[in-house]
C-alpha cells in the first residue's frame, strides 16, 4: 500500500521534518532527526530504483489529479539513479556531520543548519523526481535558497560574501530557466515534461523555442558551474562549513546536470539539440576548457578546500564532455561520472573536514607533516586522490575508461590524449598536497603537541565512502549496467 506512495514520500518526508528541527532546537536531537530522515530517504530511493528496474517507468499523480491538469511525479531510470546518488551522499554526510558541525558552526545556529539541510534535500529530490517544468523551477529555488543559508552558516566571514555572490548568480540562473519555461509554455500550452516533449515537435523551428533553448542552457550551466560561468563556485565551496561543502559538492552539480539531460534529451530531443542547434560542439569546447582551466587553477591553490573546489570545475568538465560526445558510451561515461564524482569529491571534502577539525585550518602552510599524525585520515585522502586522478581499482578509473573509449569510438585520438593530460594535472595537485602533508616536517615540534587522529564518528563514514570508491571501482557491473541502460534510454531506445 505504502509502496504506491513512495515517489511523494521521497520529497515530503524531509519537508515535514525540517520544521520539526526548528521546534526541537537541541542540536543532538536535531542531528538525530536529520540522520534518520536521510537514511529513510536513501531507503526510499533504493526501493524506487528497484521498482523502476523491474516494472519500468513510475507515474504518480499528485493528489489524484491526472497530468496535464495536476502535477505528476515521473520516475524513469535516469532520475531514479540520480535520487540514489543524492540520498546516498546525504546519509553518509549526515552520519559524519555531528562533530564537524559542532566544531564549525555557532551552537545556537546548529538547528537552523540542519533545517536548511533537510530543505535542501527536499529541493534536490523534488527537482529530480518531478515531471512538471514549473514545479521543477520551484524546487530549484527551494534547493538553492537553502544552500545559500547552509554556506553562510560558517563562522568564517568570507562565507557571507561567497553565499551572497552565489545567491545573485544562482537567482539569475534560475530566472533564466523560468524565462525558458515561460516561453515553452507560450508555444505549447503545457508545463508537463512528457507533454512538452510531444508538442514541441510542431513548433521547434520557431524563434521563441530557440530563445527558450538558449535561456535554458545558459541558466542551467550557471547553476552547475560550467567553466565560464563558474565564478560563484570556488569561494562558496571553500568557505562553507565542511559538511555543507561535502554535501553540496556531491549533489548540487549532479542535480543540475540531471536537469540539463532531462531538458536536452527528453524535451528538446536529440536531433534538435545536436543536429540543428549543434550544442555538442559548444559543449565539447567548453568542457575541455573547464577541464584544463579548473585543473590548472587547482594546482596553484594553497587551501585544500579551494583546490578541491577548482578540481570540481574540472570534473564537471568531464561529465559535460561525456554528454557532448552524443553516443551511448559517451553519455554512459557522463552519467557514470555523476555517480563516481559524487563519491570522490564528498570523500575528499570529508577528509578536509577531518583536518579542519584537528587543526582549525585547511591551508597547506598550517598542515605541514600532519599526515604522519593522522595516518588513517591521510590514507583516506590518498585513496580519494587516486580515485580523482583515475587510477585503476578506483571509481575514477571507470568513468575515465569509458570516456576514453567513447573518444576512440569516434576516432578522436587527440581527445583521448587530452583526457589523459587532464588526469596528469590531477596528479600534480593531489601530489602537492600529499607532499606537504606527509613528507614535509612540521614547523612546530611534534613531540610537544600530540595531535590525535580524527574521532571515530568522523573516520568511519569517511572510510565507508572511501571503501565505496574502491568497491565500485573493482565491481563496476552494477553502476555501468544502470548507466548504459540510461544512456540507451536517453538516446531514444536505439
Amino acid at each position: 500500500m505504502i509502496s504506491q506512495h513512495l515517489p511523494v514520500l521521497q520529497v515530503v518526508v524531509p519537508l515535514l521534518f525540517a520544521p520539526l528541527c526548528v521546534l526541537l532546537r537541541r542540536h543532538t536531537l536535531v542531528w538525530c532527526v536529520a540522520l534518520l530522515v536521510s537514511w529513510c530517504s536513501f531507503a526510499i530511493a533504493i526501493l524506487l530504483l528497484q521498482q523502476v528496474l523491474v516494472e519500468g517507468e513510475i507515474v504518480y499523480a499528485m493528489g489524484g489529479w491526472d497530468a496535464p491538469w495536476g502535477i505528476e511525479y515521473r520516475l524513469d531510470i535516469l532520475n531514479a539513479f540520480v535520487l540514489l546518488i543524492i540520498t546516498g551522499i546525504a546519509s553518509v554526510v549526515m552520519s559524519f556531520a555531528r562533530e564537524s558541525v559542532l566544531k564549525e558552526i555557532a551552537e545556537d545556529r546548529i538547528y537552523l543548519f540542519y533545517t536548511a539541510f533537510l530543505l535542501n534535500l527536499t529541493g534536490l529530490c523534488g527537482v529530480v523526481i518531478t515531471g512538471d517544468a514549473f514545479n521543477m523551477f520551484v524546487f530549484i529555488e527551494i534547493a538553492s535558497l537553502s544552500s545559500y543559508a547552509m554556506i553562510s552558516a560558517s563562522q568564517q566571514r568570507q562565507s557571507l560574501l561567497a553565499a551572497y555572490r552565489y545567491l545573485i548568480l544562482g537567482t539569475v540562473g534560475a530566472t533564466f530557466i523560468l524565462i525558458s519555461v515561460g516561453l515553452l509554455y507560450a508555444m505549447t500550452g503545457t508545463l508537463n515534461i512528457a507533454d512538452l516533449a510531444v508538442r514541441i515537435k510542431e513548433v521547434e523551428s520557431t524563434r521563441t523555442i530557440i530563445t527558450a533553448f538558449a535561456f535554458f542552457t545558459v541558466g542551467v550551466c550557471i547553476k552547475f558551474g560550467l567553466f565560464p560561468l563558474h565564478y560563484w563556485l570556488p569561494n562558496a565551496y571553500t568557505y562553507a562549513p565542511s559538511v555543507a561543502s561535502a554535501f553540496l559538492s556531491g549533489t548540487t552539480s549532479k542535480v543540475f546536470i540531471y536537469v540539463l539531460l532531462r531538458f536536452l534529451f527528453t524535451i528538446f530531443g536529440v536531433e534538435y539539440v545536436f543536429d540543428v542547434m549543434l550544442l555538442d560542439r559548444i559543449l565539447l569546447v567548453v568542457a575541455l576548457l573547464a577541464i584544463f582551466s579548473g585543473s590548472l587553477a587547482a594546482i596553484y591553490q594553497n587551501n585544500i578546500k579551494k583546490m578541491l573546489a577548482y578540481s570540481s570545475i574540472a570534473q564537471i568538465g568531464y561529465m559535460i564532455l561525456g554528454i557532448s560526445l552524443v553516443s551511448v558510451t559517451g553519455l554512459m561515461a557522463g552519467i557514470l561520472h555523476l555517480f563516481n564524482h559524487a563519491l570522490i569529491k564528498t570523500a575528499l571534502f570529508m577528509v578536509a573536514a577531518c583536518f579542519f577539525f584537528r587543526f582549525d585550518s585547511v591551508s597547506l602552510k598550517d598542515l605541514k607533516g600532519v599526515g604522519r599524525q593522522m595516518p588513517f585520515t591521510m590514507m583516506a585522502f590518498i585513496i580519494g586522490g587516486l580515485s580523482l586522478i583515475g587510477t585503476p581499482l578506483t571509481v575514477g578509473f571507470i568513468s575515465k575508461w569509458y570516456l576514453i573509449l567513447a573518444a576512440l569510438e569516434r576516432d578522436w585520438w587527440w581527445l583521448a590524449v587530452l583526457i589523459l593530460l587532464g588526469s596528469l594535472l590531477a596528479v600534480v595537485y593531489i601530489w602537492k598536497v600529499v607532499e606537504v602533508l606527509y613528507f614535509q616536517s612540521s614547523d612546530v615540534d611534534s613531540q610537544t603537541i600530540k595531535i590525535k587522529e580524527a574521532p571515530l564518528s568522523m573516520l568511519i563514514p569517511v572510510w565507508v565512502i572511501i571503501l565505496a570508491n574502491i568497491y565500485f571501482g573493482v565491481n563496476a557491473s552494477l553502476t555501468t549496467g544502470i548507466a548504459r541502460q540510461t544512456a540507451v534510454y536517453l538516446l531514444g531506445g536505439s
Binding site: 557571507l160 551572497y164 545567491l167 523560468l178 508545463l191
Partner: protein, 121 residues
C-alpha cells in the same frame, strides 16, 4: 509599427530585464545589486502575465454572459514566482546585514580588499 505597439508589453519586459541585469553586473553596492535583481525578476513576471492576457477577456470565472477569458495559469505561476522572489530578496538582505556586521561595508570592492589584506597578513 505593428510590432512596436502590438508587442508593447514585451518590449517593456525586455527593457526592464536589461536594466535589471545591468545593475546586477555593474554596481558594487550589495543593496543596489539586490534592487537590480528584483527589477530583473519583475520583468519576467510581466513577460508571463502578458502571455496570459486576452484583449477584452475577463477573469476566468465561468458565467453565461462571457465567452472570452484570460488564461489563468500563467498568473497563478507568477504568484508562486513572486513568493520565491520575496524569499530570495529577504535572504539576500539578511546576508547583506551580516556582511555589514562582519566587514563594516556593503561595497563589494571594499570587502574584497579587506579579504585580500586578511589573506596577506
Amino acid at each position: 509599427m505593428e510590432n512596436l505597439l502590438g508587442l508593447y508589453n514585451y518590449w517593456v519586459a525586455i527593457a526592464l530585464m536589461m536594466m535589471g541585469f545591468y545593475i546586477v553586473i555593474a554596481n558594487g553596492n550589495l543593496i543596489k545589486k539586490l534592487i537590480g535583481l528584483n527589477i530583473f525578476q519583475v520583468s519576467v513576471f510581466i513577460l508571463f502575465i502578458s502571455m496570459g492576457y486576452m484583449k477584452n477577456g475577463t477573469a476566468p470565472i465561468y458565467s453565461e454572459a462571457y465567452t472570452l477569458y484570460a488564461a489563468p495559469l500563467p498568473h497563478v505561476l507568477i504568484l508562486t514566482a513572486i513568493v520565491v522572489g520575496i524569499a530570495t530578496t529577504a535572504l539576500g538582505l539578511a546576508l547583506t546585514i551580516r556582511i555589514y556586521q562582519a566587514y563594516g561595508s556593503i561595497d563589494e570592492t571594499e570587502i574584497t580588499k579587506i579579504d585580500l589584506m586578511d589573506m596577506n597578513s
